[in-house]
Structures are given as structure tokens and as C-alpha cells.
Symmetry: D2
Subunit: 295 residues, 4 copies
């Protein structure tokens, strides 16, 4: 199976390397010469430009880009992937973007007989490096089936979420809930400790009660409540606050488009904006705890 990979950043770089480790042949492209050198060293072939990725009639081309505008330009631009791509190639966009754009670009692909599926990831750079990402895939069954094996080289949880765009929907919905529950845990822990409880004891009770959630039992934001989590090492590592803010922006945009209220979601977004503006954009998003302990 011949694979193309466009976008070798913090996430895409390690993902492409995992494909190589799994024995795939990979034709890669990135604007950064450094990223290109790294992938070549790892055994990858280098494309001279994105167009080459499209023209080669590879089995699958993965794209991993920062935002919707890049996806639009890479796929829909004059020398873009759709202009030169073949119906024999499956395109898989792993970028996290709004569902509306994902569906729009996929529809334009379909007009040319090309299948483009969306497969945003969760798991962060750690998951990308270790090959333990979760892929949330939206698109037709046969596209999902064709991509499955290669996705499994890069992640361990490959979920088919339904039609085109649903990968993005699942991610945006999950992450909005995640942002809210993280703030909820921060408030509950802060309140409980202020009222006299030990943080570890409180976390232990919550984690076996109806308040239990990933933000409490796996990434508890209160320093010392859990071992080995960002909160216990100055909030380093993990999923950056700036990325959470980006995802919340996508959630708000999506909610606006379908005219649905997201009350706690809206406040959560503003709080991550506050956190980033305090200079904590690179810390794990559990650093939202800092808004409750500023003195």
C-alpha cells in the first residue's frame, strides 16, 4: 500500500514515522525543510510539492493541517489535491476543522469522483508518537474500510462515526464536553479542599461516585490529587490550552451554524481564552485550575 502524507508538524511528523515503522512506503511533503529531513532519515520519500502527492495515484493520502483555511487551500486551490488527484486515491484529512468545511470540501471531492473522509484525532503528541491515537472517522463505509489498516498503524482506537463530517462532529462534541467537565472538576476540587477536605480523598470519592469523569479520574487538575498527571508536574505535557481554545472556537462556530445554544460551552470557551491570555497557552488544559487559585 502506497501512502502519501502532507503536513509533518508536531502531530503529522510522528504519525508519518509510525507508518514507516509499520513498513508502509510513504511519500511525504511539508514546507519545513527540517521536517522533510527528519522524515527522509526515517525512510520516507520526499515529494517536491503537494501536487506530486496528488498525481502519483497513491492508495491513500493523509493530510494533517492546522486549520480550515489550510484544508481549503490544499484541497481546493488551483494546484490543489482535488485538481490533480485520482479517484483511485482515498484522501483522509486528519486535521481538526469545523464539520461544515469538512463536508463542503468532501462534496467538492465527490463531484470529481474522489473520496475524501475526515479522521480527526485525539491523544495529543504523546499519542501520535506512541501510535495510540484515537481516530474519529466520518465518511462512506468503503472509505473507512480502506483507511482502517493504515490508521491502525498510527492509533489504537479507530471509530467510524457515520457519514462525511461526523468525525469532526464527534470530536467537537467530545472536546466541548471535556472542556466543561474539566472546569467542573476544577471547581469541585477547589471548593471541596477549601471546605477542608484532602484533595486525594476527595478525588477518590468523586471517582467512585456520580461525579466521576475522565477529567477527574485520569487527568485531575488539582495538584497532588493524582500521580503522574500534568497537574502534578506544573501542568506540563498533555493537551495544550491553546489547542483546547481552538477546539472551543470550532464548537462555538458549529453551534452558531446549526443555531443551538451551548451555555456552559460558551463560558468554558471564554475561560480558556482567559487562561491563554494569562500566558498559560502552552500548559495542559487542566491548568484551568489556575483561574481558581490566582493569588
Amino acid at each position: 500500500m502506497n501512502i502519501g502524507f502532507l503536513g509533518l508538524g508536531n502531530m503529522g511528523g510522528p504519525m508519518a514515522q509510525n507508518l514507516l515503522k509499520a513498513g508502509r512506503s510513504v511519500l511525504a511533503f511539508d514546507l519545513s525543510a527540517e521536517a522533510m529531513a527528519t522524515i527522509e532519515k526515517a525512510g520516507g520519500e520526499l515529494a517536491s510539492d503537494p501536487t506530486e502527492l496528488a498525481k502519483r495515484e497513491l492508495d491513500i493520502v493523509f493530510t494533517m493541517l492546522p486549520a480550515a483555511q489550510h484544508v481549503r487551500s490544499v484541497y481546493l486551490g488551483e494546484n490543489g489535491l482535488l485538481a490533480h488527484g485520482s479517484p483511485n486515491t482515498l484522501f483522509v484529512d486528519c486535521s481538526t476543522i469545523d464539520p461544515h468545511t469538512a463536508r463542503d470540501v468532501a462534496a467538492q471531492a465527490q463531484d470529481k469522483g474522489i473520496t475524501l473522509i475526515d479522521a480527526p484525532v485525539s491523544g495529543g503528541t504523546k499519542g501520535a508518537t506512541e501510535g495510540t491515537l484515537t481516530f474519529m472517522v466520518g465518511g462512506p463505509e468503503e472509505g473507512f474500510n480502506k483507511a482502517k489498516q493504515a490508521l491502525a498503524d498510527m492509533g489504537k482506537n479507530i471509530v467510524h462515526c457515520g457519514d462525511t463530517g461526523n468525525g469532526q462532529v464527534a470530536k467537537v462534541a467530545n472536546n466541548m464536553l471535556l472542556a466543561i467537565s474539566m472546569i467542573g472538576v476544577a471547581e469541585a476540587m477547589n471548593l471541596g479542599v477549601a471546605l477542608g477536605m484532602d484533595a486525594k480523598t476527595l478525588a477518590g470519592i468523586i471517582n467512585t461516585s456520580s461525579g466521576r469523569c475522565w477529567s477527574s479520574d485520569t487527568n485531575n487538575p488539582y495538584p497532588g490529587a493524582l500521580e503522574g498527571v500534568p497537574a502534578s508536574r506544573g501542568y506540563t505535557g498533555g493537551f495544550g490550552s491553546a489547542l483546547m481554545l481552538k477546539d472551543m472556537g470550532l464548537a462555538m462556530e458549529a453551534a452558531h451554524q446549526v443555531e443551538q445554544p451551548v451555555i456552559l460551552g460558551a463560558i468554558a470557551k471564554q475561560m480558556y481564552q482567559q487562561l491563554c491570555n494569562l500566558g498559560h497557552d502552552k500548559l495542559d488544559f487542566s491548568a484551568i485550575m489556575k483561574l481558581y487559585q490566582q493569588d
Copy 2:
């Protein structure tokens, strides 16, 4: 072990019956003649007034009352339990009240050499009837140990949360987080479905992702997302919205006393007020979904 039980309402009645079923001798009191008749039929002895419960030098006296003012009056009143109680009796208050009152009343008990521990419950009337309640216990180790067996007759999860008042702290912190995460799930499910996903599929993905929480995987508020939950039967049964509103009132009061911000908690409380004012106070609190689907 001779046990006293004061307060035979929706929760206290079934709890006292479970003590009887476990073979305990129970001296009971309630202002409702009907509740008294029921407990007598189940094998309980009836006290003529609360004072009798205090004077008999029982091993343990449980109290289960609606609010802090009742706890104050029952324990601290002129003919209250502390005025006539013995240091040989362990008092266990299962009411859900604010930590401040719990600690204040326990301190006044201690002044008379009497041990009073707080042991609020979660699990609702279903848990009370089936003997599967969770007890969150605050108070000295020896009090906890003395109460443990009898509590185990009424519940299956008996947690020592630390010193006096910490049972209330654990409950208030857990339930505030629960209220927030329930609204978070309602928003995420509503948004995801509006964006085109199937509710069951979305719940399935969230439940294996970082958004997972009790409100999503055990009591999902979106009709049809899970089987056998309140949302799938018109929000009947479960934990009433009015009770959640009461607990949120306690959370706000506690946060005010220790001067800590609870931003999402504060909004969550207002939303449960809205829900109750719409006439849904008796529905399970997952009915918060209705605020997102009002048309």
C-alpha cells in the same frame, strides 16, 4: 445493637425498614402518623417524641431530615437530642445540609461529650429501598467504625471522608460536579445530533473518549442514547430536579462561606431553577435536556 431512627420520609422510611430487615431493633419517630404505622407494621417500636429517642441510651441514633433548620432544631432545641442524649449514644445525621451547620452542631455535641457524625447519602429512593445507598461519612474514626455495620445494612458503599463535616463536603462537591457534567453532556449531545450524528453513536464515542462521565455513560440525558435510563422514559424516576436544585443551593452557600468562585456551578444552579420553574421539578435532573429542546 439498639438503634433509633428519627425522620421516616421517602428516604428515612425505607432506610429504617432495611435496618429491621437486617435484624436490628429500631425505635422510630416521625411526625407523620402514617409513616409511624408503616414502620410499626415492619416491626419497629414507636417513640412518643424525639426526646424519648435521646433518653433511651441507644447505641446509635440516625436522623434523616429535610434541611439544616430541622437539624438545628432537632439537635439543639430545648427538648432536643443533645439536651437529653448520652455520651454512650452515637448520633449519625444522614440529612444533606451545609458543612458549616454540620460542623457547628457536631461541635456543640462534642461540648457535651456526645459524638455526632455526618453521613449524607446518594442513591435516591431507589437506593434507599434496595439498600444500595452510598454513605459519605465525616467524623472521628471510632464514630465511623461504630456506625459502619448499621450503615452497611442500608447501603453498599460506606466511605470515610475525614473529619466532621467532610461527608457533607464530599456530597456537595460531587453533586455540583454532577450538575455541571450533566448539563455539559446535554449540550454536547444536542450539538452533535443537530450537526447530524446519531445519538447512540455519539454517546458510544464519548463514552470511550475523554468526554466520558457518569452523566454520559450511566444516565445520558438524550432520549434514546442509552436504554433503561430516565431520558428513555420521559425522565421519570431517578434523582429529582428539585433535589438537585436544593444541593446546588447548598453548594453556592458553601462556596460563599469559604469565598471561592464557582462559575459553572453558579450557572448550573440557575439552570436547574429554570427547569423547576418550568414545572419539571419532579423529573430526573437529566431533564435539563429540555432547556435545549423547548420548541
Copy 3:
């Protein structure tokens, strides 16, 4: 002074008529044949397409369009106003759009030597009909001065807000504050009346105290607090909730672009979404009162 007018909807139609009433010669265009017929009857000349408006070298061309996408397409499209416009013509966009788009389009105009200023309005259809609109103008001094007279034919308050885009900034900031204070008044009035005060008395006190604001003294949302306002006639007339929701969308987008938190603004937006979803999108935005009195 020869004037062009593009966009003869609820707002643009009456505005163009006021120019005619003031003795201006107006060349007008709209896609609606009915709107065209009305303006012709009022003495206007009809253009055959937007291009004609650009080619005629008029002194000023006003545009009044529903959203940013229309502004982009009308100005930047292949046959758009900038492609055929002359540096001798001043373009004045009265649409309410995001500052970013306003500045972007104006910059592209400037590249062709054309001056485009932004002049969004407040005052609603009533103000448009009666010629009492407020214009918030962003752009160079000489553009403002050239437009001033004609704007005065359509409004009574013509404010220069500074450079290009600042008209939009002023409007978005003012309206976000308006949305917040309207909800604040609704909450304060509802609370005060629930606590036993007469609505008129309460409004009277607030209006001479530190809570006073336009939403309280000019458009009080509590039925009966003021005479002759939407709240006293079933919330008909006034500034529609859907328009407020649209403006709040612009505010959120603008805040996102400049990375600033808008906490109450974000919730206010969601509440207007709720109000619209309840079917009240055509009522005056003071109908937000309904969220507090739903039973």
C-alpha cells in the same frame, strides 16, 4: 449630488426614499422587482445591475446588505463594485458586518484608489422610515465629510468613530453591551417584583439610581413598567431578537479574532439563541424577559 443605492430591503428601502425626499437624485438597485417598483414610484431611477451603479461615476454609492458574504461578493466579485468603480465615487457600506471583513474590503478598495467607508446604523426600521437613524462611521476624515450631508438626510446622529472598520467596532461593542444590560434589567425587574415590589415603582427607582440604562429607562422589558414600549404591547415592534442574535454572533467572532474574553457577552448570545429557538425571533429583543417567566 448623484447618489447610488444598492439593497432596498426593510432598511435600505426607506433610507433611499428619505434621500429622494431630501431632493437627491438616486440610482437604485435591488434583486426584488417589488422593491424596485416602490423606489421608482418614489422618484428613483433604476439600475439594470450592480455594475451600472459602479460605472456611472456617481458621487456616493450606498450599500445596505444582509451579511459579510454579500458585502464581499458585491464589492469583490468579478462584476463587483470595485472592478468597475471610479476613484471619484465614495462608497459607503451601511451593512452591519464584522470589522475584519469591513477592513479587508476597504483595503482592497484602497488598492484601486477607491475610498470605501463603513457606516452601520442603529435605530431599526422605525428610524429608517422616520429618518432618525444613528450612523457610526469608520473611515478617513474626507470620506466622512463627503458622506455627512447625505447621511443626515437619513439619520439624525452621524458619528465619526475613527478609521476604517471603527463604525463596525462601535456598533458591535455597543450592541453587545445592550444585549447584556437588557438581560440584566430583565433579571433585576423579575427579582424585584418576585420579592414584592411594584414594577413601575422599581423601574422608577432604578432609573434614577446607579442601575439606570437605556434598557431600563427607554425600553424596559417588564410588561407595564413603562408605557409605549414593546414590553407593553406583547413585544411587537422594536429591534428583533433575531437581529440581536446576529449582532451577538458578530461580537463573538470579533472577540475570537482579537483573542479577548467576553464572558457575559457569550452567555447573552446563547440566551438570545434560546429565545429565537422558542419562536420569538421576530419579537423585540426585550422579549428576553420570557426566559424568566416561562410558566
Copy 4:
């Protein structure tokens, strides 16, 4: 007219002095020897204890106390004002407390034939010193009329808000709205300036538009937008954030008692808690601006 004054703190002290300046004879009491010395120097007579204030059958006794618990204890305690007071004396409580307590204490006064009216103030220590306070009075017409002259010695705006407790209702409703609109102005100003507008220009436009409010045109929180306001001198002077937080606590309590939602009010309260926890409790409440400009 013989007047008694209980509570000579930051507010009560200057108020009692203004009564003396107006030629009234004042019998005063406070626990602080320093406050007593000051009032004696100003011509006041000193009472040996609160009971003396009650026993003297004065025409009016004013009380100015920090919180509801003090009002309860001063009026209802064993040696309290009601135990020894005469029906010939009108009692006027100027403390800011919750309406529920105000009504409860007044009802207990009435049971003894004593009239107690509530007359909380706004205007801060500056208004107290300069005699320009606003009094919001709740109670029977004849009580209001009897107090009017003496109140006019201490303030310039004496408003009858209706029956007992309504003075507190008016204050709590007004101040909740004030807290909300202040945050609204902070957000609007911060957003507008971030989008490129000059603060003074923006404030000028808002102040003549639908966003205008006291928080914008009289106490604008953006540094430099207005001259001579706290924001232009480091937020010193004015109405302290801790006092606003206290009033918001009363508002939340009152809303809870009458079971009404106060969504923006609830968040506003939390934000003032954040501000105080950052150490800004003594700054004017317009310092809420700091939450938007923390870096």
C-alpha cells in the same frame, strides 16, 4: 426631634455627624471607643449601651449595621431594641440586609406595637460624608413621613419604595443590575479597544447610544475613558468590590428564597469573588476591568 444612632462605622459615623450639623440632638452608641469619642467631639451625647437608646423614648432611632446577623441580635436579643423600645419611637434600619430578614424583624417589632422601617443607602462613604446619600425606604407611609426630614439631613434622594422590606428589595435589584452592567461595560470597552478604537471615542458613542448606562457614562471602568473616576486613578475611592460582593451575596440569597433564576447575576457574583480573591477587594468595583486585562 431627639434622635438615637446605633453603629458609627465608616457610613454611620458621618451620617450621625450630618444629623448634628443639621442641629439635631443625637444620642449615639458604638462598640468602638474611638468612634464614640469622635461623635462626642462633634456634639453628640453618648449612650452607655444599646438598651439606653431604646429606653429613652427618642423620636427616631437609626441603626447602621454590617449584616443581617447584627440586625437580628441588636433588635431581637434579650437586651435588644425591641425588648426595651417604645411604640413612640420610630426605628429606622439603614443597614443593607436581605429583604427576608428585614421583613421578619419588622414583623416582630409590629407585634410589640413598634414601627421599624428599612432604609438602606447608596452613595458610599463619599455620599455619607457629603450628605448626598440616596435612601430607599420600605415601610408604612406614616413611618416614611416621620423619618423623611431626618433622612434629608443625611441624603438628597429619599425614595419611598412601598411596604416593609421594599427598601432592601430596591437596593438589591438595583445593585445586581449595576454589577452586571459594569461587567458589560468592561467587556464592551475592552473588546472595542482591542478592535482598534480609542477608549474615549468609544465611551462617547456608547454614552449617546442604546448601550448607555451609569457604569458607562458616570463610572466607566476603562482607564482614561472618563476623567475623575476611579478607573482614572487606579480604581481608588468609590464603591468597594468587597461591598459589591456582599450585595451580590444578598441578591443570590433573595433570588434563592423566591425561586427565581438570575443567570448573569450569578456569574457576576462569581466574578466579583474572583476579583476580591485577587486582592482587589478594596478597589472600586469598576476594577472588574482587571479580569479582562490581567497580563
